[in-house]
C-alpha cells in the first residue's frame, strides 16, 4: 500500500535509516574512544 506514496527525497527509506543508524553507532563508538584517549 505504501508503494504508491510520495518519496520526497532521492534516497529510499532504508537508505536514510541506514545513514542515521550508522551515524548513531559511529557517534557511540567515538564518544567512548575520545574518553579512552583522555
Amino acid at each position: 500500500m505504501m508503494d504508491n506514496q510520495n518519496k520526497n527525497t532521492k534516497l529510499s527509506n532504508k537508505k536514510i535509516a541506514l545513514i542515521l543508524g550508522g551515524v548513531a553507532l559511529l557517534w557511540y563508538v567515538m564518544a567512548m574512544y575520545s574518553i579512552w584517549q583522555k
Binding site: 500500500m1 505504501m2 504508491n4 506514496q5 510520495n6 518519496k7 520526497n8 527525497t9 534516497l11 529510499s12 527509506n13 536514510i16 535509516a17 542515521l20 543508524g21 551515524v23 548513531a24 553507532l25 557517534w27 557511540y28 563508538v29 564518544a31 567512548m32 574518553i35 579512552w36 583522555k38
Partner: protein
C-alpha cells in the same frame, strides 16, 4: 490549505485480534496507542514513588522509609518519569499524529516501529525489578545515585546500578530507532504539496527532537557503557582512585541530559500553537519565527550542558561561556512565547479543557523558564545548586511544561483518536485540581530552596516543617486528581457523545479531515496539499 480527503477503506482493515494484534502490529495508530497506554501506567508507577517520598517528608525525622530506600525512590522516580512516562507519551502522539498530519498511510518503517515499542516494557522491568529482588534478599535495591549516575557513588553502588545501566541502553536503542523512523517518515512520506515549511508545528517539533536524540543518546550510552566497565572489568575511566575523572562523567551525562529537557519539551511546543490557533479561531502567529526558534533552541541545547554543575569546578572562562550561552536560550523561547500570546490576541477564544491546559501551561512553563534564567547565573547558582529551588524549577519545566502539555494534547486529540467526546466538566475539574495542587506542591519548594533546604534528603531541619507539610498534602491531592484523568480517558474510549470529523470548530490540518476515529489504514489515497 485545502486538501482532498480519503475514503474509508474497510477492505484494508483486516488485522489479528486479541493479544496478537498488539504483539505483532505494525500499524502506527496501534503502536501509538500502546506507547500512550504504557506511558500512562508508568506515570502512575513514578507517581506512586514520589508519594512515598512526600509521605516521608511530611514532617521532620525519619518516619516511614529508610534513607537508602529513599535515595532509590528518588532516582527511579526520575528515570521512570523521564524515560518511561514523558518520552513514550510524546512518541505515542508522534506515532498517532505525524502520519495523519503529513498525509502518510503509516510510519516509514513499521516493523522497526513495533520493535522500538517492545523494547520499552523490558527496560521498565529492569528499572523496577531490583526493588522486588531486594524483598527476596537478592541485591540491595534499585540504583541509589539519583537519575544522574554520578561516580564515585555509581561505581560503588549495588546491582541496581547495573540494572539501570542496561535499562538505559534499551531505552536508548528504542529512542534512536523511533527517531530514525520519524526522520525518515518526515523526509520521505509527506503528501504532495506538503513542503517542509507547510508542515504542522508538531511535526517540526518532533523532527528536531529526533535529530537531538540521535546526537545525544549515543553519548549517554557510551558513558554508561564505560561506567559498566569501571564497575566490572577493572577500568578506571571515572574512578578517581585509579586515576580516572569523575567530573568527565558529569560532562558526558549532561551533554545528553540538557538536550533531553528539550527532547521532552519540543513535541509539546509543537502542538501548543496548534491548540492555541484552534481555540482562538485565528491563524497561528509567526509560524516561520517558531520554526526558526525550534532550530535555535535545538542548536543551543547541545552547547550549554555544564550549567548543571557550575559548582563542580571549572575555569572562569568556561563558567562565563556556559552562563551566557544558557541565557541565550531565552531569546528563541521569548520569540515563541510572543507568538503564542499573539496567536490568542483578539482571537475568538473559548476555554474547553485543551485550551485551559494550554493557557495554564503557558503561565506555569513561563515560571519554569524564568527560574531557569536565575539558575543560569553562576553566582546565584552557587547558592541554589542542589537545593529545593532546583527541584521546584525543573518540576515547573517538566511537570507543567511536559506533563501538563501532554494532558492538553490528550484532551485535544482524544476525540479524534476514540471517536467520542470526553466529559468536559470532568476535564475542567481535572485541570483546576491539577493546576492548583501543582502550584501548592512546588511554590513552597522554591522558598524551601531559598532558605537552604538541600534536595535528596529524607530528613530536614525543623524550620522547613510547615512548607514541607503543605507540599506533601498538595502532592497527594495532585496525585489523586490524576485518577480523574484516567477515568475520563477510559470513559471516552468506551463510549460517549459521538465526535464529529473536525471535532473542534477552529481545528485545521489533515488529521481533522479524516473520520473520528480514523480508519485502521488512513490515506490509502494520497491527499494533495494546495
Amino acid at each position: 490549505m485545502s486538501t482532498t480527503t480519503t475514503a474509508h477503506h474497510d477492505e484494508h482493515a483486516e488485522h489479528p485480534t486479541g493479544i496478537m494484534r498488539w504483539l505483532t502490529t505494525t500499524n502506527h495508530k496501534d503502536i501509538g496507542t500502546m506507547y500512550l497506554t504504557f506511558s500512562l501506567i508508568m506515570f502512575f508507577v513514578g507517581g506512586a514513588m514520589i508519594l512515598g517520598i512526600r509521605a516521608e517528608l511530611f514532617k521532620p525525622g525519619l518516619q516511614l522509609i529508610n534513607p537508602d530506600f529513599f535515595n532509590q525512590l528518588i532516582g527511579v522516580h526520575a528515570l521512570v518519569m523521564i524515560f518511561a512516562a514523558l518520552m513514550p507519551a510524546a512518541t505515542g502522539f508522534a506515532n498517532w499524529m505525524i502520519p495523519l498530519q503529513i498525509g502518510a498511510p503509516d510510519m516509514a518503517l513499521p516493523r522497526l516501529n513495533n520493535w522500538g515499542f517492545w523494547l520499552l516494557p523490558p527496560s521498565a522491568i529492569l528499572l523496577t525489578l531490583p526493588f522486588t529482588l531486594a524483598l527476596f534478599g537478592i541485591g540491595d535495591g534499585a540504583l541509589a545515585t539519583g537519575w544522574t549516575f554520578y561516580p564515585p557513588l555509581s561505581v560503588q553502588g549495588g546491582i541496581g546500578v547495573d540494572f539501570a545501566i542496561f535499562a538505559v541502553h534499551l531505552l536508548g536503542i528504542s529512542s534512536v530507532l523511533g527517531s530514525i523512523n520519524i526522520i525518515v517518515t518526515v523526509f520521505n512520506m509527506r503528501a504532495p504539496g506538503m513542503t517542509l515549511m507547510k508542515m504542522p508545528m508538531f511535526v517540526w517539533g518532533w523532527l528536531i527532537t529526533a535529530f537531538l536524540l540521535i546526537a545525544t543518546i549515543p553519548v549517554l550510552a557510551g558513558a554508561v557503557t564505560m561506567l559498566l566497565t569501571d564497575r566490572h572489568f577493572g577500568t578506571h575511566f571515572f574512578d578517581a582512585a585509579g586515576g580516572g575523572d569523575p567530573i568527565m562523567f558529569q560532562h558526558l551525562f549532561w551533554f545528553f541530559g540538557h538536550p533531553e529537557v528539550y527532547i521532552l519539551l519540543l513535541p509539546v511546543w509543537g502542538f501548543i500553537p496548534q491548540i492555541l490557533e484552534t481555540f482562538s479561531r485565528k491563524p497561528m502567529y509567526g509560524y516561520k519565527a517558531q520554526v526558526y526558534s525550534f532550530w535555535g533552541v535545538g542548536a543551543l541545547s547541545v552547547v550549554v550542558w555544564a550549567h548543571h554543575f557550575f559548582t563542580a569546578g571549572m575555569p572562569v572562562p568556561a563558567l562565563l561561556y556556559f552562563m551566557y550561552s544558557t541565557m541565550a536560550i531565552s531569546l528563541p523561547l521569548a520569540v515563541m512565547f510572543f507568538c503564542w500570546i499573539k496567536t490568542m490576541w483578539r482571537g475568538s477564544m473559548s476555554f474547553e479543557t485543551p485550551m485551559l491546559f494550554t493557557v495554564g501551561w503557558i503561565i506555569l512553563f513561563g515560571i519554569g523558564g524564568l527560574t531557569g534564567l536565575v539558575l543560569a547565573d553562576v553566582a546565584a547558582d552557587a547558592q541554589y545548586h542542589n537545593s529545593y529551588f532546583i527541584v521546584a524549577h525543573f518540576h515547573y519545566t517538566l511537570f507543567a511544561g511536559g506533563i501538563m502539555g501532554i494532558m492538553a494534547g490528550t484532551y485535544y486529540w482524544l476525540p479524534k483518536m476514540t471517536g467520542h467526546m470526553y466529559n468536559e466538566k470532568l476535564g475542567k475539574l481535572h485541570f483546576w485540581l491539577t493546576a492548583i495542587s501543582f502550584n501548592l506542591t512546588f511554590i513552597p519548594q522554591f522558598f524551601l530552596g531559598l532558605a537552604g533546604m538541600p534536595r535528596r534528603i529524607p530528613d530536614y531541619a525543623l524550620q522547613f516543617a510547615e512548607f514541607n507539610m503543605i507540599s506533601s498534602i498538595a502532592a497527594f491531592t495532585l496525585g489523586i486528581s490524576q485518577l480523574l484523568f484516567v477515568y475520563n480517558i477510559i470513559s471516552c474510549v468506551k463510549g460517549g457523545k459521538k465526535a464529529t470529523d473536525q471535532v473542534w470548530e477552529g481545528a485545521k490540518g489533515l488529521e481533522w479531515t479524516l473520520p473520528s476515529p480514523p480508519p485502521y489504514h488512513s490515506f490509502a489515497e494520497q491527499p494533495v496539499i494546495k
